[in-house]
Amino acid sequence: MGEFAIGQGVPRFEDPRLVRGGGRYVDDVALPRMAYGYVLRSPHAHARIRSIDTGKAKAAPGVLAVLTGSDWEAAGWRDLPVPGGMKRRDGSPSYKPRFPALVKDRVRWVGDYVAFVVGETLHQAADAAELIEIDYEPLPAVTATANAAVPGAPLVWDDCPGNVCFARFEGDKTATDAAFARADHIVKHRFVINRVTAATMEPRGAVGDYNVADGRYTLYAVLQRAQGYRAELAQVLGVPESMVRVVAGDVGGSFGMKSAIFNENPLTLLASKLIGRPVKWTGTRSEAFLGDAQGRDNVTDAELALDKDGNFLGLRVKSLVNAGAYLQPGMPAFTGNLGTLAGVYKTPASHVDVTVVFSNTNPMRPYRGNGRPEAAYVIERMVDLAADELGLDPYELRRLNMIPPEAMPFKTSVTFTYDCGEFEKSMDIALKMADVNSFEKRRAAARKRGKLRGIGLSFTIERAAAGGFEGAEIRFDRSGTVTLVSGSHSQGQGHETVFKQLVCDRLGLDPNEVYYLQGDTDQVFFGEGTGGSRSATMAGSAFHLASEKIVVKATQIAAHLLKLEAADINFADGIFSSAKTNQTLTIQEVARAAADPSKLPKDMEAGLVSNAVFDTDTQNFPNGCHICEVEIDEDTGEVEIVDYNVVDDVGTVLNPLLLHGQIDGGIAQGLGQVLMEDIRFDADGQLLTGSFMDYAMPRARNTPAFHVESNPVPTKTNPLGTKGAGEAGCVGAMPAVANALVDALSVLGVKHVEMPATPERIWRSIQEARAG
């Protein structure tokens, strides 16, 4: 089955359906007698609710239910999940805010959940929501990260002093202080990493369907982890998990944002239970800006200590991270991913000190990288800043400090122990690809055209597939065709294709006879889901294990049928054979026999079905070198990315076509943040970037062609040798693009440009540099 073998750029099995408009997204779900829900959101960033009068709304045409915080409370359902277990600076437990699906007496961000109106039509529900009378008493709000921790700042939670949710420390403070004490050079910089939003093309949505006959709840949802959603919902509803079914079809992008349940999920279920009909809620784009969890947003002070030759001695990082108004699942992982700060360098001592604060803004969640791109940005900008300050070549400074392959496994001074990687080799390939040697000629030529040309390199590494488990199942039916059931869930990555490749390659199956199933908790036996660049490693390994189980059992059956010992049987390309006979059996013949107990060895269970759980406490470390070239229009500050080269190491490449797509998409999101994307609030906490008119995202004209090559160094931490690929592009892109911008402007003496480097911001920095 060479055509579908691992490593082939097999086009996706998902795509013929999707290019014909045959996707099945949550808003495509239509159930009989379905009603429509509308969320009434807070117009204030911070306010006390004095009273809510729903009388007029309830009497409005077509209205079936109006739910407020009191109704939520009366239902007796629990709060949405809030992570705990972290600690504050003084060792006391992290602050754990309440998170009801509808608030009752206080709103904490523009977009907070005040009421849920259900009508015969969406229009009627939305009309009725306007009739709800709410008496708000506005309170002072705080939105900017740097302001949230200032003494006297408005408190988001009255009993949470200083707005501090928790703090986290990594590394060795004493060793780091000692390293700084003996340093020849100390390079310092403050970075403001702005807030962005996932802006998935498919807005969030849900359909809740309570079955009064059997008391079971079904939720059609957008998600990354069906089983996780079910567990969270069951907790909120206070019912056994078996009484909740979660179903997801195609998901139109997530990037971390859809990774845990949102308030609308239990609200549609509660409304469905109350009115005895299915209830659909579909978010608008405006609601996506107001209601979606957002990402990044921190202020980070970094210091790098070097000796006179440029060897890194120590790294000190202090970061203030914005949690938004509530603490969301996955958010604390941000601090866990700070290990990325160590980069690919030998730096012997580091200390990281992170404080997470509340503010009157959208809650925060993982967004493609979840701490990795932020950390990569900081360390790789610091290396360039150090090179500039010490008058060293930035590539050679990296080379000097890089961890060599022979030092693996290498325990870094922040959190992680890398198992493998060839950093210098990957960088050398990238330097050649990007023709770095003749860059100065290109810079000079651009100058003649009135353009400032710059080149920027990043070498980043991040943790992927951070432990845990994942389930996979292979079901042969009695005809010999196959269903694959995965615990992971694709939001566009192409899981179906890669897992079919893996299984078809091993078992010699025709992918056209294989059906792929995901995202239905009634079908998936065990699953953790997708996130943190884990699925190729975790679900892929689970399918690998499940395939091996199939081979073992099918070999026993084949041996029985051929009247031989299992040890005499060979299996290759879907055929069982033996040197001791001319007879052969296909795996389909064996599967058909497996469905007939009379054809099986005594005591063998009928059926050719296997499920497997891949369980690991290891992780892997994808890494890569990005080189970006930009040209800046000196008069307008407009940036064009003119060349982009990547050499990645995501271990064994399962499908280069899909890998390219993952890297490209990640780069686009990374460059989007560095160049244009920005969530902004005004001083009162009103969202200023509430539509695609205000929130800029890369369009086809803003992105270049991406040249992507691989230098795979397979990891031994999983049976496939893969490392995560989903976040790598974004991680590498933020620093590479930023370094290129600064390099372009360096002829004017510019040392740094904050993100997003909009034309205005660049133009201003050019003017300031000229003014001296």
Binding site: V19, R20, M201, E202, G252, H660, G661, G665, P698
Partner: protein, 161 residues
Amino acid sequence: MSLEETLAIELTVNGERVESTVPVRQHLVDFLRTELGLTGSHIGCEHGICGACSVRVDGAVVRGCLMLAVQADGAEVVTIEGLTDSGEIADLQEMFVERNALQCGYCTPGMLITAAELFDIGLPASRENIREFLSGNFCRCTGYHAIVDAVEATLKQRLSR
């Protein structure tokens, strides 16, 4: 129940005559999706910026979220389902698959309909032209590289015929 103001409309959708009574404030894309079950047109922003709801009305690509269903009275509407059935963009669809020019697939129908218009206009097949022409359609997954590849390859294939 409903006090919605409605109007009767008659139009052609994907070659078939359709008569319906629609709320006057219903958008064309909502009508296509909910009344006709043509869910291939997707709603991404409802303010005309993202292009996911693009459909063809009387030969021109329009935003299904910026046009009311009643405005389509008497019009000829073609959606991704109709374009698929007619085979007009079969080569482009195949090329999108071959180049992996989609990931989540949400923007894809709008992207394909827009690219089909590019073919009709007959601009020179430069990557710059393609990028400019597709810049009214957001894609959050691919970074556009593979989309531009697919459109360029299809254009070249057509020109060489």
